[in-house]
């Protein structure tokens, strides 16, 4: 019996809620024999260096890394694209991701853009360890937040007055002075 071929290792930030959810999705997407070894980066710099001599634990936390069995390393959007190429449910995207149009790969570029946007908004999605997001993303988030609050206030103002008047509001008892 032949030994199992080594799998690509996907390293994710185990302190980041978004990354944990993505890692769980990858694991759930390989119901049969695993095609990707999904691991949290952890806290041991030496253990990380042993996985790949060119990998530093600080770099591993900076962006997603996929360590390939041939010793190469893919990072960021390229790592995400490679994961999509290998997972059974998304393997169909392989041709799309590899397709060249005018010297560029549009689908791969879109994945890269998507990864970078997600990486930027992680602090807003529950990653306390991912730092503060950039000013542009923050202002969009603040605008959406303001819009949401305004719409909620407008909706409250539109509720017919008889609704609130029909509520029974008990009178508060006067506190006895000590």
């Amino acid at each position: 019996m032949q030994p199992a071929a080594p799998l690509p290792i996907l390293l994710y930030n185990g302190e980041c809620a978004v990354c944990i959810r993505v890692a769980a999705w990858v694991r759930a997407s390989e119901p049969g024999t695993p095609v990707i070894d999904v691991r949290p980066i952890g806290d041991d710099p030496e253990a990380i260096a042993q996985l790949h001599p060119g990998l530093d634990i600080w770099d591993a936390y900076e962006t997603v890394h996929l360590l390939m069995p041939d010793g190469s390393m893919k990072t960021g959007g390229a790592a995400v694209a490679e994961v999509l190429r290998r997972l059974p449910n998304t393997r169909w995207s392989s041709g799309l991701l590899n397709a060249h149009v005018g010297g560029i790969r549009p689908a791969a570029a879109l994945v890269d853009l998507g990864y970078n946007v997600l990486a930027d908004v992680r602090p807003l999605l529950g990653c306390a360890s991912c730092g503060s997001t950039n000013a542009a993303v923050r202002s969009v988030h603040e605008t959406l937040d303001w819009l949401g609050r305004t719409l909620r206030a407008e909706r409250r103002a539109l509720v017919p007055p008889f609704r609130s008047a029909s509520r029974h509001v008990p009178r508060l008892k006067q506190k006895t002075p000590v």
Partner: protein, 114 residues
């Protein structure tokens, strides 16, 4: 070369509380972007003051109890110890050599004056 040894719950007493001289402990985590930004500065400062002061680190992602015991609320937080006692702390100093040097050395100078 990494000059900064990692202290754990098992080694904290020996390396920090029972240390002979002044010790600055950086409470950090590898997933913290601010800790990453300050890392090369901390290495440089640790090298420049190695003859009079030791700089150690505690990874709060692993040593949550130690972080709680020393009321660490943000990373990086530097806590300075002398003779087993805390003599000062600095939360998130600017990632500049002068700022980090002042953060990890001034409390000992003040303690010497007292």
């Amino acid at each position: 070369m990494n000059l900064i040894e990692t202290a754990t719950a098992a080694t904290f007493d020996t390396l920090v509380l029972h240390a002979d001289g002044p010790v600055a402990v950086e409470f950090m985590s590898y997933g913290c972007v601010h800790c990453r930004a300050i890392e090369p500065i901390v290495q440089e400062v640790a090298r420049s003051i190695a003859d009079r002061e030791r700089v150690l680190r505690v990874n709060v992602a692993v040593e949550g109890d130690l972080a709680a015991a020393y009321r660490v609320r943000v990373t990086p937080t530097f806590v300075m110890f002398l003779g087993g006692n805390e003599v000062g702390r600095a939360e998130g100093p600017q990632p500049q050599v002068a700022s980090v040097t002042a953060a990890v050395t001034n409390p000992f100078a003040l303690a010497a004056v007292r």
